[in-house]
Amino acid sequence: MRAIEAFEPPPPSKVNYINAQYGLKSWLLTKDHKRIALLYLGSITFFFFIGGLYALMIRLELLTPQGDLLQSTTYNKVFTQHGIIMIFFFLIPSIPATLGNFLVPMMIGAKDLAFPRVNLLSWYIYMLGGVITIYALLAGGVDTGWTFYTPFSTTFSNSYVVATGLGIFVNGFSSILTGLNFIVTIHTMRAPGMTWFRLPLFIWSHYATSLIMILGTPVVAITILLLAFERVARVGIFDPALGGDPILFQHLFWFYSHPAVYIMVLPSMGVVSELIANFSRKNIFGYKFVAFSSLAIAVFGFLVWGHHLFVTSQSVYAGMIFSFLSFAVAIPSAIKVFNWTATLFKSSISYDTPMLYALGFIGLFTIGGMTGLFLASLATDVHLSDTYFVVAHFHYIMVGGALMGYLGGLHYWWPKISGRMYPEGWGRFAALVIFVGFNLTFLPQFVAGYLGMPRRYHAYPPEFQVFNVLSTAGASILGFGMLIPAIYLVWSMRYGKHAEANPWHLPGLEWRTQSPPPTENFEHTPIVDWEAYEFAPPEEMEVVGRFRRELETA
């Protein structure tokens, strides 16, 4: 540790990527990956609060058993729009487009992503998709559920299915371009000495995520296009009356949408790997296993989609295969959890805000993952399918997993992003409030679902009220908890303590440049001759010294 503290980063310069240029045009036409990351950060935060408002409406409606706040048709639209906004416009771009965009080049020692213009284009495409979707929501909304199941979506729904589908279709290209950029960057732009097995695990997880983005997103894009063709032109693809097969839609939709869960959670796992290693000040236990488990999740994640179809007319034999494969995907996930836990063992843990989120992630993701096995079992799924058990399960993965990682990462790299420290006390308080609020919201839903409360209804039998009151109370705490970081992070941009280059005293490349970084990230191309997470004991002082000398002589 002393070695790292002894390391002196390049002298802080007043010019950085934020103040290098001024004016709206300098932001809207920027090709700097860090500025584009901030554009994404603002955009996804906007969509997050829109999605959050829909969540608020759902929880308020479900406070009482009667459908007394929203009509059933309105409620259908509200939960659909909550899902669409949160999944396509917040969770999928959340970590890759913000933290990934900011950090992938910095962590590998590059000046920018491989295709800076394509990177900016991806943000514009994202915004175009967002505008189309918002138009669809304002024009009348969509009531199909975020899954767009046929034949309801193609034949019976009177809502704005095609417009919403178009928004998602367009948005998909943004995701593909981001994935493409990451893969090419990681392959071709690593700094000298940054070998594959010296890459931070954040990079490995983004590489795996990018594979899913590129290989899966085109399939859902084509599926939505086929849906629109059938709805508009009555081409028979999914509607049995026209010679189609509605289950085909579910196959195509989930071929992307199950791996999409890993698009959300894999980057979060990358963040957590960073946090666990760095706040334990210990090399990650089983680096290669954690790295390859990301790739294994990306591959296995494509083989399990049929578990969403267990209660349809899908063949029972296909069901058996999908059930087996779904159990298999638990293995690489478990490898990660065990390795993180092993890393913590006998380490020097500091409980700063990012670490609280990381520890929260491990617990919540484990609950989400284990309850997923209930749903991967053919028999129990028949009982649990379309109940609140499913809702609780995937929120434990998407919020307990993806969102916790996102918040942990945002706090961890905030000093680098903004050049300011966030208030640590408030940070820990908010992390605690969010953790409590989250569990109070979703834990009761497991019980309600197991007892038979179905999802997607605005009214329910009175015996389920106690669980829903608990859940709404939890959601209020969670919503309050989410506002706290929103407020203090904005506050810290102006009033926060100035951050030094390496406030956590860590070996990663992103910490070896000033905070905020200059537009080119590094004054000189770094030469890497240390391993990932090499917390230098005194005898390794030379490693850091070599790095400094390279900088001086370059």
């Binding site: 085909l248 195509l252 049929g306 007319s313 899908q314 063949s315 034999y317 296909a318 295969i321």
Partner: protein, 106 residues
């Protein structure tokens, strides 16, 4: 990576091949390729249309997208994309082809 210059003649030839493929697809659509062999019926219109489409796509990928002249890494990436297509088809057909096997309920 050195850039391979493809002669314009090659592009024009491939373009003509694609046009011919389109013409062939249209002509094939007007012909009924249903055959009966014993008690079994083979409706071949869709497989024929797909075969022409795949052939055309192969030309596009190899020449217009320059994959033929690209590095092995690009070949690996193209092959993995095709492999993913195989996953999509294989597991979907694992459902379709076994639906009739289990006749009680389901």
């Amino acid at each position: 990576m050195s850039e391979h210059i493809v002669p314009v003649k090659v592009y024009i030839t491939i373009f003509l091949v694609l046009l011919a493929g389109t013409l062939l697809t249209v002509l094939a659509a007007f012909h009924d390729f249903t055959y009966h062999l014993g008690s079994r019926t083979f409706a071949l219109n869709t497989p024929i249309a797909l075969a022409i489409a795949v052939t055309k796509a192969t030309f596009v990928v190899l020449y217009f997208m320059h994959v033929r002249y690209s590095t092995r890494l690009v070949w690996v990436i193209v092959t993995s994309a095709l492999f993913w297509l195989v996953i999509l088809f294989a597991l979907t057909f694992a459902d379709y082809w076994t639906r009739g096997w289990f006749s009680i309920g389901w």
